[in-house]
């Protein structure tokens, strides 16, 4: 579903989607109105300037007098002062409106994302969501400020000029206005074509970046196959297409610009012709003629700008649509008002009402299907996990091993039946309460940019240095930290990039143990790390699970032989369960998996044993 949305470039909303944005514009309504009003005044002044020239010609020059020149200058400077001030305020307001509304939208969408369910994150890629939060908000901010101001500014200038001309000499005015419909039609025609071409250019552009990426990441393959020339030819074809399309767009743009300025001169020619005759006949003063000349030259470009602003309004609709869809997505997992009343929500927990969590978990007649799937992956599933039990879940990659864990963590809720925590339905208490009692270590450990210490404190912000050091020692991560040049204050880089996978894993174990959770979930690593680290991690896991209810998603069966119960998952369903020995004796699917892995591990360890 979302894949298609990503490619959709155009939607149509009533009133360009502005009604959906009204709640966000409301706090700034005074600023928006002031900006618009001042925009009107600014363009009003632009209409006044030619009148000064008119007065100079018709009065001072025609009468050969300088009487009243000081007042003239004073008035001019006054008008200039007003215009400059107004334009300063309206521009700076536009900037503020753009950024503040953008900021509010960012905050709102980010906060909303903190409460959305996992199904949302499974269905939408990080890149897609990030684009909504970062760029849609920016474009919308730009629309309600600059596009709005551009429209107001140019429209009021256009209207003002027309009124002013009509007042000065309505016959001549009507003749000049003949050009306006022509300019409008031309603008709309060209703008339409340009929008289409620009879209195409963006597409080819991303293709070119992709080609470069492929040319570099695929260099080894290209060389071994000796297809450099073919790749080059293909690339040249794309880059040629880019050139042709861009030149096509340039042709339209150049033609557009030329026509608009030609229209201005056409209007000027009309003024010279009809106005010249009027002046010659003594029906109009030369100064007035000069005003008409200025207006004629100045009124075509605003038409072009108005059309451009409208076209950008049309294009922003898709951003409005995507962002408001994000904001209106309702989380699948939601605490009831009563629960929030008692336990607080994610941002404002009422920790004083939280009961301690013991760690008994029970699946009671649970049936479950994923919100985006049609098939039940659990049907009438029952399992009691008393406090301190170690549950292992095994199966091939993609078999659906995470389902049970997702239910325990209440990342998803059962379609039917209940998950009981300490004998009570999980839904009776808040998500945050449960999550605060769960330690979760991911297959691909995720650290946040910042220092080692900040990362360790993530699960328990108020931990003391002794507690931190203790946790680190428990998982044998002290060696890792000792190796870093700044110890606990070393930066880990974006997503922990500066550390190796093994190091990241050890730190995320330490982070989990520091939080001292009652329930422990481990999504075991698949990546093979060096044997020393592997041993360390194995020990860390054992020390972590002691005395806690734990769920381990295991890829390497050798690590979970001691588990209290092993659940074997295939095609999303639990097909076998029991202890390691029971399952081996069954000679079923687990047995096959185990034999296969055993051999592979033997093959690898054969070399290490040498």
């Amino acid at each position: 579903m979302s894949k298609q949305d990503e490619n959709k470039e155009y939607v149509k909303l009533p009133f360009f989607g502005i009604p959906k944005l009204l709640p966000f514009m409301k706090p700034y309504r005074v600023k928006i109105l002031t900006m618009m009003a001042m925009g009107v005044v600014t363009s009003g002044m632009d209409i006044v300037w030619p009148l000064f020239t008119q007065y100079a010609i018709n009065h001072f020059i025609a009468d050969t007098t300088l009487k009243g020149l000081p007042v003239f200058i004073l008035l001019y400077v006054l008008c200039l002062g007003i215009q400059v001030l107004m334009s300063y305020i309206s521009c700076s307001y536009a900037g503020q409106i753009e950024m503040y509304i953008g900021r509010d939208l960012k905050r709102e969408s980010f906060n909303h994302l903190q409460n959305l369910s996992f199904s949302y994150f499974n269905q939408n890629s990080v890149g897609y969501i990030l684009a909504r939060v970062m760029s849609d908000t920016g474009r919308i901010g730009g629309m309600v400020s600059w596009d709005l101001m551009d429209s107001v500014w140019n429209l009021s200038y256009l209207i003002g000029v027309i009124i002013s001309m009509l007042l000065l000499n309505w016959k001549l005015a009507l003749i000049v206005l003949i050009i306006v419909p022509f300019t409008t039609v031309v603008s709309v025609y060209f703008q339409k074509h340009l929008v289409v071409l620009n879209r195409k250019i963006r597409e080819i552009n991303s293709q070119i970046s992709g080609n470069f990426n492929e040319g570099i990441t695929g260099a080894k393959t290209t060389k071994t196959l000796v297809v450099e020339e073919k790749m080059e030819q293909d690339f040249n074809a794309t880059s040629k297409e880019m050139k042709v399309t861009s030149v096509q767009a340039a042709r339209y743009r150049s033609m557009f610009g030329s026509l608009i300025s030609f229209a201005s001169y056409l209007a000027l020619a009309l003024v010279l012709w009809r106005g010249g005759i009027l002046t010659l006949d003594g029906l109009m003063l030369i100064g007035t003629l000069s005003v008409f000349m200025s207006y004629a030259l100045g009124m075509m470009e605003p038409i072009q700008w108005i059309v451009r602003a409208i076209s950008s309004l049309i294009q922003v609709q898709v951003n409005v649509e995507r962002l408001t869809r994000l904001l209106s997505t309702v989380p699948d997992v939601k605490d009831t008002p009563e629960v929030i009343e008692k336990y607080g929500d994610s941002f404002e927990p009422k920790k004083e009402n939280w009961e301690p969590l013991h760690g008994d978990i029970e699946f009671k007649d649970v049936s479950f299907k994923y919100p985006d799937g049609d098939e039940y992956v659990l049907e009438h599933f029952n399992l009691k996990v008393p406090q301190g039990t170690n549950v292992a879940i095994v199966g091939e990659t993609g078999a659906g091993k995470s389902t049970l864990v997702n239910l325990v963590c209440r990342f998803f809720e059962p379609t039917e039946g209940q998950v009981l925590i300490d004998g009570r339905d999980a839904r009776e208490r808040s998500q945050l309460w449960l999550h605060s009692n769960i330690g979760y270590v991911l297959q691909t450990p995720h650290l946040f940019s910042g220092t080692v210490k900040e990362n360790l404190l993530y699960g328990k912000p108020d931990a003391t240095m002794e507690q931190i050091e203790d946790a680190v020692r428990k998982v044998s991560a002290d060696g890792v930290i000792a190796r870093m040049d700044k110890g606990y204050d070393s930066q880990v880089g974006e997503g922990g990039d500066l550390l190796s996978t093994g190091e990241k894993q050890l730190l995320s174990f330490a982070r989990a143990i520091l939080a001292d959770p009652r329930i422990f979930v481990l999504d075991e690593a698949t990546s093979s790390i060096d044997t020393v680290t592997e041993k360390l991690i194995q020990d860390a896991i054992e020390s972590l699970m002691k005395g806690r209810t734990s769920f381990v998603i295991a890829h390497r069966l050798s690590t979970i032989r001691q588990a209290d119960v092993i659940l074997v998952v295939k095609d999303g369903k639990i097909i076998e369960s029991g202890t390691h020995r029971e399952l081996l004796a069954k000679r079923g699917y687990y047995y096959d998996l185990y034999t296969q892995q055993y051999q592979e591990e033997n093959i690898q360890s054969a070399y290490q044993a040498l």
Binding site: T53, I61, L69, Y76, L80, V84, Y88, I89, C91, G95, M99, R103, Q114, N115, F118, I129, L130, F212, N213, E214, G215, A219, K223, T224, L225, E228, K230, M231, K240, M242, V247, R251, R253, S254, M255, G257, S258, S261, F262, L272, I277, L280, I286, L289, M293, H435, G439, Y440, H446, E494, G495, V521, R581, Y594, Q599, Q604, S605, A606, Y607, L610
Partner: protein, 615 residues
């Protein structure tokens, strides 16, 4: 070398790089500038038409001096003739406007054509150069950085040349022309119109420098904010599992606030720049207006001249302000050029002079080959062995034993220095064989195969122009991937790779094998190419290969004994050195030999150990 000389050298390098890229597009830019000369000239004539009309035709005072335009028009039939035909003025104006419009179109079109041609050339040259750079270079440089150089930096250089450089020339033409016209009409008033120009240029440069640095701050902050959002999204499970939503919210909010604040500061600066710019040019217009009026009243200039002056003056306002911007932004392009020079100056792979297209059907011989990717960290050491033409040769070794490296050396993806030993094919040192020839005659299936973003048929048939689909399918059948492909909705036309369907590891490997088979090379290397394929398919593929590869020299690399058992010769590699060499039987007969031990361990079944445990 002094600093100044160094600087000159850098500038010279940049200039010669730019002129190299400009090859083929420079005439567009020249045409654009020439056309803009005509546009500006015709725009200069318009106020003269108005001036003649106001002064000599509409004005009551016939004593006024007649300008060039007027003289031409008067020659058509005198003043009364023109007075009766005012429309002639409109026609003259439209004709001039038409000329201006046609050339304005040429200005923009030529400029854009130039820019696009330049861009196309830069892209193509860069892409081709990158393709030819040695593999070691690719390993040393970060992909993201190179892509950025090839896209953003190329863009910036094009914008610099097509917009900034060209508009600089155009603005200078415009300024010179209007000043010429103004000074020829009245020196006193022209001085008033001129004196604010340097002020505006300097002032606008000052602002743009400041705006530029604030832009930088905003950019950095945007990166920070975006990184927080991204980390939050990728780490959503960690955030939830630790119940840290509030922390994340506060953190994002703080940076979001800072981001908006920085932008508002920048916007305020821009608003100040625009409005104060308006103020300066407003004053300038007023000066011309007031002093023009005074001169007019004193009779020193005519009304028509006055109106023309105002027109010229207003033509100058915007371009002069843009000038400041252009100048302040020029420095940025230099850095982009340097970043491109870095790529262009990296030496490409080159064959030795006299490199030949040797016969590749001979024996392959490694003699005393030592090699490491980094200095003093050898990956293979003093390796010598011989592969008889037409036989199957197995190489066994654990992770990091140097198996793959030996193959990369054979394909010359990394070159051997004279003191690192040599590899010969049919007695010819591979250093003396053309790289293209060598690689075309060696088919390699890499450990982690890479498929291009195109259809499966195109991927398999990539080594040959318009390969017939029958040949593609034949190769796919041998590699046991035909069935999987035909099961896709679009079959062989399914697009794979980054922007298409994701294939499983095994499908990828088999597609890569098929691709390699179409090369029909006399030497074929399978670098652990069946690791993601199940045992049955593995056997089926090996069987099909055996039937179809008669005559080719085959090198199999694996850490599984079962894969290599059937080879004519097996080399056991241990920590970069040759440990054992012989047939399967010979190696098994070595008591306490590595091969023997590995064979035993790999053939062992789990039950035995389980039984032991249970006892």
């Amino acid at each position: 070398m002094s600093n100044k000389q160094k600087n000159q050298a850098v500038q010279y390098k940049r200039l010669s790089m730019v002129s190299y890229f400009l090859h083929g597009s420079v005439h567009f830019f020249v045409l654009s500038i020439l056309s803009s000369f005509i546009v500006t000239l015709s725009e200069m004539f318009m106020p003269q038409v108005v001036r003649f009309m106001v002064d000599n035709v509409l004005g009551a005072d016939p004593s006024q001096e007649v300008n060039t335009v007027g003289k031409v028009m008067l020659s058509w039939g005198g003043l009364d003739y023109l007075k009766a035909r005012i429309w002639l003025f409109a026609v003259v104006l439209v004709v001039i406007a038409l000329v201006a419009a046609v050339f304005r179109y040429t200005v923009n079109l030529m400029n854009n054509k130039g820019a696009q041609t330049l861009m196309e050339r830069m892209r193509n040259v860069l892409f081709a150069h990158i393709q030819k750079l040695p593999f070691a270079w690719h390993m040393q440089n970060k992909t993201g950085d190179i892509i950025q150089r090839c896209t953003s930096d190329v863009d910036r250089i094009c914008v610099f040349i097509s917009e900034q450089l060209v508009s600089l020339v155009r603005i200078v033409i415009l300024v010179i022309m209007s000043l010429t016209f103004m000074y020829s009409m009245n020196i006193k008033l022209a001085i008033f119109a001129t004196f604010s120009l340097p002020v505006v240029v300097l002032y606008s440069m000052y602002f743009h420098n400041k705006i530029g640095s604030r832009f930088g701050e905003c950019d950095v902050q945007e990166g920070v904010l975006s990184a927080i959002a991204q980390e939050n999204l990728t780490g959503v499970r960690v955030v939830r599992a630790f119940g840290r939503e509030k922390f994340e919210k506060d953190r994002f909010e703080a940076q979001n606030e800072k981001y908006a604040g920085l932008w508002v500061r920048l916007m305020n600066l821009m608003a100040l720049f625009w409005s104060s710019g308006d103020f300066i040019s407003g004053l300038q217009v007023m000066l011309v207006l007031v002093f023009g009026t005074v001169l007019c009243v004193r009779g020193e200039i005519s009304t028509g001249t006055f109106i023309a002056f105002i027109s010229y003056n207003s033509m100058l306002t915007w371009p002069v302000r843009a000038l400041g911007r252009v100048i302040s932004e020029m420095s940025k392009a230099g850095i982009s050029i340097d970043r491109i020079i870095y790529i262009m100056n990296s030496p490409i792979e080159q064959d030795k002079p006299g490199a030949a297209e040797a016969d590749m059907h001979g024996d392959i011989e490694y003699s005393h080959v030592s090699f490491g990717y980094e200095e003093n960290i050898p990956v293979v050491e003093d390796v010598s062995f011989k592969i008889k033409a037409g036989t199957t040769f197995g190489i066994l070794g654990g992770t990091g034993s140097g198996k793959s490296t030996l193959m990369l050396l054979l394909d010359r993806l990394y070159g051997l220095k004279p003191d690192q030993g040599e590899i010969t094919v049919g007695g010819v040192n591979i250093e003396d064989i053309k790289a293209e020839w060598l690689r075309r005659n060696i088919g390699i299936v890499l450990q982690e195969p890479f498929l291009f973003s195109r259809t499966i048929a195109e991927n398999i048939g990539i080594t040959q122009h318009n390969m017939p689909i029958e040949k593609v399918r034949r190769a796919a059948k041998i590699a046991a991937v035909d069935d999987s492909i035909t099961q896709f909705a679009k079959g062989y036309d399914t697009i794979v790779g980054e922007r298409g369907v994701t294939l499983s590891g095994g499908q990828k490997q088999r597609t890569a094998i098929a691709r390699m088979l179409t090369q029909e090379a006399p030497i074929m290397i399978f670098d652990d190419s069946l690791s993601a394929v199940d045992a049955e398919t593995d056997a089926a593929i090996r069987h099909a290969l055996k039937e179809n590869l008669s005559g080719a020299t085959v090198i199999l690399i694996s850490h599984r004994v079962t894969t290599l058992m059937g080879a004519d010769q097996i080399l056991v590699l241990d920590k970069g050195r040759v440990a054992e060499l012989g047939t399967h039987e010979e190696l098994l007969n070595i008591e306490n030999g590595i091969y023997h031990k590995i064979y035993d361990m790999q053939m062992k079944m789990p039950e035995e150990e389980e039984v032991k445990q249970n006892e």
